[in-house]
């Protein structure tokens, strides 16, 4: 599992330390990958910074998308249960 945002590596390191997250955090400060995935939410962050809209993709080992969740309301995210249920299709 990898979490991707515009946060710089320092911020992600602090977040991992604070919350005890063990999965990979990747930084996309210039939003190049966020744009490649068409997930740019312009000026939606603090001080009108561009951010990613929340989205989750499950890829199989070949890199093919097997499950997508694009929320319609950014307070509503996939729950851990939904993610686990999606991954069960890969087993």
């Amino acid at each position: 599992m990898a979490a991707i945002s515009v946060d710089p590596p320092d911020a992600s390191r602090n977040l991992r330390a604070k919350r005890g997250y063990t999965y990979t955090f990747l930084s996309d400060p210039d939003t190049a990958v966020i744009k490649r995935y068409d997930l740019l939410h312009p000026k939606a962050g603090p001080d009108e910074h561009d951010v990613a809209r929340p989205a989750e993709f499950l890829l199989d080992p070949s890199g093919t998308v097997r499950w997508v969740n694009l929320t319609e309301n950014y307070w509503i995210r996939a729950t851990p249960g939904q993610l686990l249920q999606a991954t069960s299709a890969l087993r």
Partner: protein
């Protein structure tokens, strides 16, 4: 209680107003942490309902004999402010949060996810190919979950 002719302190109005503020702030400060209370803000709506009940009883007793309570003027003001807070909450959670980009060109089921290389939290470059192939506790990964999030946590 107002038995000596002086209007009694109407704590219900202040409690109702304070609870409205708490109902608003606690979503962002606390309830947003848990999927159960974030995905639908029922805990906050419940707090708003209790606040409304306190304000309603508080206002009712300012206008009802025989006991006299303060709040004929500030009671409705506090109730109005509470209604504004509630309205702003509903707007923020149910209306404004739906203004998301369409993401029509986002990768769909069945297509190859575009490759990328980004820095991890230790400034090491990590590519999607790395994520898909590097063994996890000795075994090849069965897949990768990519989670895009807004950041600024």
């Amino acid at each position: 209680m107002a038995t000596d002719g002086k209007p009694g302190w109407n704590w219900l109005l202040w409690a109702g107003f304070a609870l409205s503020v708490i109902a608003f702030l606690s979503y962002f400060a606390f309830f947003v942490e848990f999927p159960l209370t974030r995905n639908f803000p029922w805990a906050n709506l419940l707090l708003f309902a209790i606040a409304a009940a306190l304000l309603a009883v508080g206002i009712r007793r300012t206008f009802r004999p025989p006991k006299s309570y303060r709040g004929k003027i500030f009671g409705p003001i506090l109730a109005g402010l509470s209604a504004l807070i509630f309205g702003f909450f509903v707007f923020a959670i149910f209306v404004a949060a739906r203004h998301l980009p369409a993401s029509a060109a986002a990768p769909r089921v069945g297509v190859k996810a575009p490759d990328f290389t980004l820095s991890d939290s230790d400034n090491r470059p990590v590519s999607l190919a790395n994520l898909l192939t590097e063994p996890i506790s000795g075994a090849a990964p069965k897949g990768v979950m990519l989670v895009f999030y807004r950041g600024y946590w």
